[in-house]
Amino acid sequence: MRHKLKIIKIYFYQSLMQVLEYKQNFIIWICVDALWTIFDGILASVLLLNIHNIGNWDLPRMLIALGVFRLLVIPVWGWIAPSFAEIPKMINNGKLDQFLAKPIDTQFLVSVQKFSFNYGSSLVGGIIFMTIGFRSLPFILWPNIILGIWISLVSLVLIYGVYFLTMTFSLNGQRSENLQNLFSEIFYSVGRYPRDIYVPILQRVFVSFLPIALMVTVPAQVLFGEFEPLIIVWFHILAIFFFIISRMAWKNGLKRYSSASS
């Protein structure tokens, strides 16, 4: 474990050094993140000012959900996405072989190879959205906030599992450099709305088959007091299931993997 932490630390510092070397890039991407954060705020406000409720969410609840989304964006696009984006490239140019030859778990190595530090605006935006949302609610329950933090961490495990599972398809040999966009695009467009808005067939897909509709909504619902014990249990089961299944898919994919250079 200590060995793995050391490797994470090395990759982390390597990414940080790149940021410090190319400060202009860092500033540009901070601005891009700020742009998306503002865009999300505008979109949610405009939508809710016109239709008042989405499912049983009003504007304050939507802002809390948006806050959770923006805060989850930090580990998703700051850690998982940059690392996973390298996988199809590594498979195509044969660099994955170098990782396979190393005496450490390959899944671990491909998962921590890159970090991004551009998501300061998401952090600020997420906190602002949540503060505005909570101020408009009649009550704040501290146990819910603590549970909400825990559920957000479980959500992160679920996101990792589902995202990694999609990335394992890149081992099938066909060119698929855009595979990394699949999860992030669907997560962005589907994850922010309450799951009740989806018609039954889409609900089945986004709750059970590819549980993207739960990743943001479950932590958000816990935060504003809509506690559903069955969903919470189901959420934990899904997180463990997808983590295990993605690992199995990766290992099976590696057995079939033939390097680009071989």
């Binding site: 190319y22 202009q24 890039n25 540009i28 991407w29 601005c31 891009v32 742009l35 998306w36 865009f39 505008i42 979109l43 405009v46 939508l47 016109n50 239709i51 008042h52 409720n53 989405i54 499912g55 398809f169 099938n172 066909q174 060119r175 698929s176 450099e177 855009n178 595979l179 966009n181 699949l182 695009e185 669907i186 962005y188 467009s189 589907v190 709305y193 009740d196 808005i197 989806y198 018609v199 889409l202």
Partner: protein, 264 residues
């Protein structure tokens, strides 16, 4: 012209060979639309919007998906990479203009994009066809088709300008995000502009994005678009296209002079 069609044919074959990538693009573009369509359907069931309004909004998103699939251009990401890593030099040595090649490439890409979308349009037909048939006419379809050709040109030139920016700035792909956000807030790709305040809608009319999604869809599906509005939209989109071509040409000349390849 023969060269153009030969490039087109090769690129189209390539698109159908790399099916996984095409299917991924298809999913990334259709799932957000399905999510929004589902939202309007649910709001209709809960009585928050009328059946007619839900039909209009569903049609709006399906047409928006049609526009994305048929006229959106996506070459800037790999062009930026090619310029940054120096592979772009090969294009300069070829006896064919890079823009000529890119145009054929993008046309092939959009052809395959449209073909991949046909099944979903057939599947969703009961959701949009009744509303579409009640407003559409041959004349409107012709105008819509012309606007799509202009939109393709504008999108192509915007992608070209974003690609050229990488001759000057390292992170030109950041401009792509700016384009997506502008498409969303001024073009109506995420939400119809009628949801926004009137001053916002008026401002949008002065941007090129206005005629990418909102206006063509509104024109096709609404009975209230006047000839003056149509004239304004058509005129402004042509002016924007000309401006984008002029900027594209100007920056291309500047960029080539500025360019020094890796290893050179």
């Amino acid at each position: 012209m023969r060269k153009f069609w030969e490039f087109y044919r090769i690129n189209l074959t390539e698109r159908f060979t790399s099916q996984t990538e095409s299917i991924i693009w298809f999913l990334t573009e259709t799932v957000p639309i399905l999510a929004m369509t589902s939202l309007w359907k649910t709001l209709e069931v809960s009585g928050q919007i009328t059946h007619e309004r839900a039909g209009e909004l569903t049609l709006y998103y399906i047409l928006s998906m049609f526009i994305t699939r048929t006229v959106s251009t996506y070459f800037e990401e790999w062009m930026i990479d090619e310029i940054k890593d120096g592979h772009f030099s090969f294009n300069l040595l070829k006896p064919i203009s890079i823009r000529f090649y890119l145009f054929a490439h993008q046309l092939a890409s959009r052809t395959s994009g449209t073909i991949y979308t046909i099944p979903i349009f057939v599947l969703l037909a009961p959701l949009y066809l009744p509303t579409l048939l009640s407003t559409v006419s041959g004349y409107k379809l012709t105008v819509f088709g012309l606007m799509m050709i202009i939109t393709f040109g504008q999108k192509f030139m915007t992608s070209w300008l974003i690609s050229l920016a990488s001759f000057w700035i390292d992170q030109a792909s950041a401009l792509n995000h700016l384009k997506w956000v502008c498409e969303g807030v001024f073009g109506g790709s995420w939400l119809p502009l009628t949801f926004f305040p009137v001053w916002w809608q008026n401002f949008s009319k002065f941007t090129p994005f206005y005629t990418w999604y909102y206006f063509p869809i509104n024109y096709l599906t609404s009975k209230t678009v006047s000839h003056i509005e149509l004239f304004w939209a058509f005129g402004s989109s042509i002016v924007w296209l000309i401006l984008l071509i002029i900027f594209g040409e100007y920056f291309w000349k500047k960029s080539i002079k500025h360019y020094s390849a890796v290893g050179a």
